[in-house]
């Protein structure tokens, strides 16, 4: 069953990552690339957190480590930030 729709990562792959030692949503992300797609884990983050909680009998860990941009922004658009804004 697919958990991460963007990258088509299955529940089995996530469970095997946990059995290989992953304990956080970020660990799973680095190991099997779940949550690295277009939505950046917005849907699967919580699901992975629940799978971790179930497999490891722990409180669901907080998902991911959010960084800007929280929404897709074209890289070219970052070049358009007015220079004055960046100088300060």
């Amino acid at each position: 069953m697919i958990i991460c729709r963007c990258e088509e990562i299955t529940e089995e792959e996530i469970i095997s990552a946990i059995h290989d030692g992953a304990t956080t949503v970020d660990d799973v992300k680095r190991y099997v690339h779940a949550g690295t797609g277009l939505c950046q884990g917005k849907t699967c983050g919580k699901l992975i957190s629940c799978i971790l909680a179930r497999e490891l009998s722990i409180q669901p860990p907080e998902s991911g480590n959010p960084r800007p941009p929280v929404r897709p922004v074209r890289i070219g658009d970052f070049l358009n930030i007015p220079e004055g804004d960046l100088e300060e």
């Binding site: 729709r5 959010p66 800007p68 929404r71 922004v73 970052f78 358009n80 960046l86 300060e88």
Partner: protein, 496 residues
């Protein structure tokens, strides 16, 4: 770099309410929302809200959104729609993208009102087209007037699942079943009663086992679930549906708050991890406030109150003279306690047995929920509540004159008038009916009971919808006397 005195991120009920407080007091406010319309989720809420009549109870979400929008537009607010805040950088600097621009803005104070997103539910087949979130369904049917399926399975018996089921019926779809793993209905009893009268089976202890279909949903299998998450063999049922709606919860959109460095805490009752905040809605980051679903999943009325609280707290922190600050803070806190006390137990009383009485009103509201429009709509003061609005209504039969003013006022559609003396053999029943098409006066319809089951043929005596009903028509139907206490609705008429 552009400077803003206060930046509000999110123009839903919380953000709008905060901006209104701020601008009313003369603060300079910039509001950002990635959507092209203000109102957040409010414009999708076509049902009447609960709560206190002094606020917005009995008003539809869409009407509340219009009122807030009008107020916001009348004030001097710098509104940026279609602009996404994609990051918060040290020194309360916002990265803003949209409308062909990418710029940074420094704000003295920030109010984050980013709301929540839906929680998904994985099951075999959940990635098939036709499986969708309840919010998406609401957007399609209520905003874009597109029906994304004809026959739905609803997963989740919380208020969202119950309300969206009702809205799907109103939009002309069928809801073939509502399943929830819990042994009880988590949402409000009156919301469940509405869809049960419409014939929606509510299957408790059940959940979806798989979605069937090759390229899209062609059916669903539901089954009873054990406490350990396994299915009870032999309980599988196949439902002939073409759409599956997931309404299993919401999670606060905390990304921006976390990027800004706000400490969070795990609060399962509030939807998972939420930013820590003090009683004035300020987070662990100085100058950064939160309001609405981001601070814990609740409904729009609470978001409005929290927005107000964040708004006046920011004003105070900026040195504005906020009239009666302490009093206002206490009032908002009282309202919030009534609206959302996560510790409040679900209290549902047993239905009151119907006595042999001259009084025509039937109050089928048995759950303690924060709501009081029945009390305020009664011109004779026949309905009252002990202490506060979270109690169930009490009827003084000697005062009720059977005028029916309360029927359309009740947001839960839980009040009925039953005149057993209408004629020697017939009774007249009045009830709210929010489906199109409305039956014609004089026509014969199918009278149904509280579970939506056929009871008897009924004649429609009249259909009334004066302006005061706020778009809740009241039907008057005549049924044989012996069915007076069974019939509580009619079968919906087919659309042409």
């Amino acid at each position: 770099m552009k400077e803003a005195e206060v930046a509000v991120i999110g123009a839903g009920p919380a953000g709008m309410s905060a901006a209104i407080e701020l601008a009313s007091c003369g603060a300079s406010v910039s509001v950002y929302d990635e959507n092209h319309k203000i109102g957040g989720q409010l414009f999708k809420q076509l049902h009447k809200f609960f709560g206190s009549s002094r606020h917005y109870a009995g008003t539809r979400g869409i009407t509340i959104a219009e009122e807030l929008k009008e107020k916001l537009n009348s004030l001097n607010v710098d509104l940026h729609l279609g602009e996404t805040v994609y990051g918060i950088f040290p020194g309360n600097v916002l990265g803003i993208h949209g409308n062909g621009e990418n710029r940074l803005v420094r704000a003295k104070r920030i109010i984050l009102a980013t709301g929540a997103s839906e929680v998904a539910l994985p099951f075999p087949g959940w990635t098939l087209p036709g499986v969708m979130g309840a919010g998406a369904v609401q957007t399609m049917i209520n905003i874009h007037h597109v029906l994304p399926g004809k026959r739905f399975l609803m997963i989740g018996g919380g208020n969202v699942g119950l309300i969206v089921s009702y809205q799907l019926l109103q939009a002309g779809a069928e809801v073939c079943g509502l399943v929830d793993v819990l042994p009880y209905v988590k949402g409000y009893d009156v919301h469940a009663a509405k869809i049960m009268r419409a014939g929606v089976p509510i299957m408790l202890g059940y959940t979806v086992r798989e979605a069937l279909g090759e390229k899209e949903v062609e059916g669903a299998v539901i089954a009873k679930m054990n406490k350990d998450g396994t299915f009870v063999p032999g309980t599988e049922q196949r439902l002939d549906v073409d759409a599956i709606c997931i309404a299993v919860g919401l999670q606060p959109l905390t990304e921006l708050a976390r990027i800004a460095g706000c400490k969070t805490e795990y609060q399962p009752l509030l939807g998972g991890y939420v930013p820590k905040r003090d009683e004035y809605m300020e987070t662990s980051v100085h100058g950064l406030y939160i309001a609405g679903d981001l601070s814990g999943i609740s409904e729009a009325s609470s978001a409005i109150e929290e927005g107000r609280l964040a708004g006046i707290s920011v004003l105070k922190s900026l040195g504005y003279d906020v009239e009666n600050f302490d009093e206002r803070v206490n009032e908002i806190k009282r309202n919030l306690k009534l609206l959302k006390d996560p510790g409040r137990q679900k209290i549902v009383h047993d239905p009151t047995p119907i006595k042999d009485t001259k009084c025509k009103l039937r109050v089928e509201c048995y759950e303690c929920i924060p709501c009081n429009p029945c009390v305020t709509s009664c011109p004779r003061g026949a309905i009252s509540m002990k202490e506060d609005i979270t109690n169930t209504p009490e009827l003084d039969e000697s005062k009720c004159i059977g005028c029916g003013m309360c029927i359309a006022a009740c947001p839960g559609l839980a009040l009925f008038l039953v005149d057993t003396e209408y004629s020697d053999t017939e009774a007249l029943i009045q009830f709210p009916y929010e489906y199109l098409p409305l039956p014609e006066e004089g026509s014969m319809v199918d009278g149904v009971n509280r579970k939506g089951e056929f009871v008897t043929k009924a004649t429609v005596k009249s259909v009334r919808c004066p302006k005061a009903n706020k778009k809740t028509p009241v039907l008057f139907i005549v049924v044989p006397k012996q069915f007076a206490e069974d019939v509580r609705g009619i079968r919906r008429l087919a659309r042409k």
